[in-house]
C-alpha cells in the first residue's frame, strides 16, 4: 500500500486511546514520554556542547537556565516522570515481547470473550508499574522542591 492511500482518520485515531483498554493508554503514554525524553536528550547535548566554549559560555548557559526560575524544575520533574514511566513500562514490554509474560496461553474462546493477553495479569502489571512510577514521581517532585528551598 502506498503512503498516500492511507486513510487520514487512522492516523488521527492512532493518537487517541479513548474507548480502548488500559494497555492502549499505556502505549500512548509510552510514546509521549519517549518523545519528551528525545527532546530532553537533544537539549542536554546542546547544553553540554556549550562546555566547549569555555567557562564563560558555560556560566552564561547556566545563567540562562536558572533565569527560567521554577519552570526549570518543573521541566526536570516532567523529564523525571517520563524517564520513570518509559523505563518501568519498558520492562513490562520486554517481559511481554521477549518472554511472553502476562500474555497467557492459547485457549478455546468462550463467550463472553475476554482476551487473556489483556487479562488480569497484564492489568496488574500495568497498574503496579503506574503506582510505583507515580510514587517515585511524587518523591522526585519533593526532592526538586527541596532543591528550590520551598520545603
Amino acid at each position: 500500500m502506498k503512503r498516500d492511500q492511507r486513510f487520514k482518520a487512522g492516523l488521527i485515531s492512532s493518537l487517541n486511546p479513548a474507548g480502548y483498554s488500559v494497555e492502549r493508554w499505556s502505549y500512548t503514554v509510552h510514546r509521549i514520554t519517549g518523545v519528551i525524553m528525545v527532546g530532553y536528550l537533544m537539549a542536554h547535548i546542546f547544553e553540554t556542547f556549550q562546555l566547549g566554549g569555555g567557562s564563560t559560555a558555560w556560566a552564561n548557559t547556566m545563567a540562562a537556565l536558572h533565569s527560567l526560575g521554577p519552570m526549570e524544575m518543573v521541566g526536570l520533574w516532567i523529564v523525571a516522570g517520563s524517564a520513570l514511566y518509559h523505563g518501568g513500562n519498558g520492562i513490562r514490554l520486554v517481559l511481554n515481547e521477549a518472554f511472553g509474560k502476562f500474555m497467557g496461553k492459547p485457549i478455546l474462546p468462550v463467550y463472553p470473550y475476554s482476551p487473556t493477553s489483556l487479562g488480569r495479569n497484564q492489568k496488574v502489571a500495568v497498574w503496579s508499574i503506574t503506582a510505583v512510577v507515580l510514587a517515585l514521581w511524587v518523591w522526585a517532585g519533593l526532592y526538586l522542591l527541596a532543591g528550590l528551598g520551598v520545603i
Binding site: F7, S14, Y20, E23, Y27, L93, A98, M103, P109, P115
Partner: protein, 268 residues
C-alpha cells in the same frame, strides 16, 4: 430511548445524520438497513450474514472498530451514534472500504499448510497426524473471520502502512504452531523484518476489538518467541507430522468396533 440518530460519515468526509425509530434488539446494521430502505437508498455499506460470521460489516462505531451486526444500539447507551468507515483502509464508498490490501497481507504469510512433498499431500488420500493437545495451541487463532477490525484498530498500522499487521501475523503463527506444517522457517523469515513482528508495540488494541477472541496480540508475542528461537537458539525447520490411516467407513455406527488409531500407518 425512542429514536436514535446515526451520524454517518459518507464519501468525501461529509457527515449526514439519519433518525431511526428504535426497537428492542436493534443492531447498528438493522438501523443502517432501515435508513437505506426508507430514507436514503444511496447509502453504501457492506454486509452479508448478519450474525457475526462473515466479517463483512466492520465499521467504526462511536470511535471503535466493531461489527455492525453484533453491535446492539442499546449497548452503545447513546441517542446519537457516529458511524464511520474502518480506519487504516482506503474508502471505496461511504462505509465500504478497500479490504484488498488487507487480504494481500493475509496471503503474504502463506496461510495454508506447507509440505515439502506435495505429491504426498495431494494424492495420498490420507490425513496428517495432529493430536488434540497440539490443536489447542493454534485453534484460537483459527477462528479469525478476517473482518479487519484488528487492522483498523492498530495504531502501528496507522503509522506504518508496510506493517504486516495483527491479522496476518496471527495467521502466520497459527500455521507455525501446526505440527502438520513444514513452512516454519519460511514464515519466520517473513516475520523477522522491520515491518514484521518487531514493529508491534503491544498496544493490545487488536485483541480488545476482535469479535471472535482470536487475540492477535498474544499470537504476535508467540510469533516473536518463534523468531527468537531461530535467532538465539538457532532452531531450524522441523519435519511435519506423518500421515495416518483414514477412519474406515461405517465403523462409527452404534455397536461397531472402531479401528485402532494407527499413527505409524504411513511408514509401513
Amino acid at each position: 430511548m425512542e429514536r436514535v440518530v446515526l451520524n454517518v460519515t459518507r464519501s468525501g468526509g461529509k457527515r449526514v445524520g439519519y433518525e431511526v425509530k428504535y426497537r428492542k434488539g436493534m443492531t447498528v446494521l438493522d438501523a443502517l438497513t432501515e435508513v437505506r430502505e426508507k430514507q436514503d437508498s444511496t447509502l453504501g455499506y457492506r454486509h452479508s450474514c448478519r450474525m457475526g460470521i462473515c466479517g463483512s460489516c466492520g465499521m467504526t462505531i462511536n470511535g471503535l472498530p466493531r461489527l455492525a451486526c453484533q453491535t446492539q444500539l442499546s449497548s452503545l447507551n447513546a441517542e446519537a451514534i457516529s458511524v464511520e468507515p474502518l480506519h487504516n483502509m482506503k474508502v471505496v464508498r461511504d462505509l465500504v472500504v478497500d479490504i484488498l490490501p488487507f487480504f494481500d497481507l493475509h496471503r503474504s504469510v502463506r496461510p495454508y499448510l506447507m509440505r515439502t512433498d506435495l505429491n504426498e499431500r495431494d494424492n495420498s488420500g490420507r490425513e496428517y497426524r495432529v493430536l488434540t493437545e497440539e490443536v489447542e495451541k493454534f485453534l484460537q487463532f483459527d477462528y479469525c473471520i478476517m473482518c479487519g477490525l484488528c487492522y483498523a484498530a492498530c495504531p502501528t498500522v496507522a503509522l506504518d502502512p508496510f506493517y504486516t499487521g495483527p491479522q496476518a501475523i496471527a495467521q502466520a503463527y497459527r500455521y507455525m504452531a501446526d505440527p502438520r506444517d513444514e513452512g516454519w522457517e519460511k514464515r519466520v523469515n517473513l516475520l523477522d523484518t522491520s515491518h514484521g513482528v518487531w514493529r508491534c508495540h503491544a498496544a493490545g488494541a487488536c485483541s480488545s476489538v476482535c469479535p471472535k477472541d482470536v487475540d492477535p496480540a498474544k499470537a504476535i508475542q508467540l510469533a516473536r518467541m518463534e523468531v527468537l528461537k531461530k535467532r538465539i537458539l538457532r532452531k531450524r525447520a522441523r519435519e511435519g507430522s506423518k500421515l495416518v490411516s483414514p477412519p474406515v467407513a461405517g465403523v462409527t455406527k452404534e455397536g461397531a468396533k472402531p479401528p485402532p488409531f494407527d499413527f505409524g500407518g504411513a511408514e509401513k
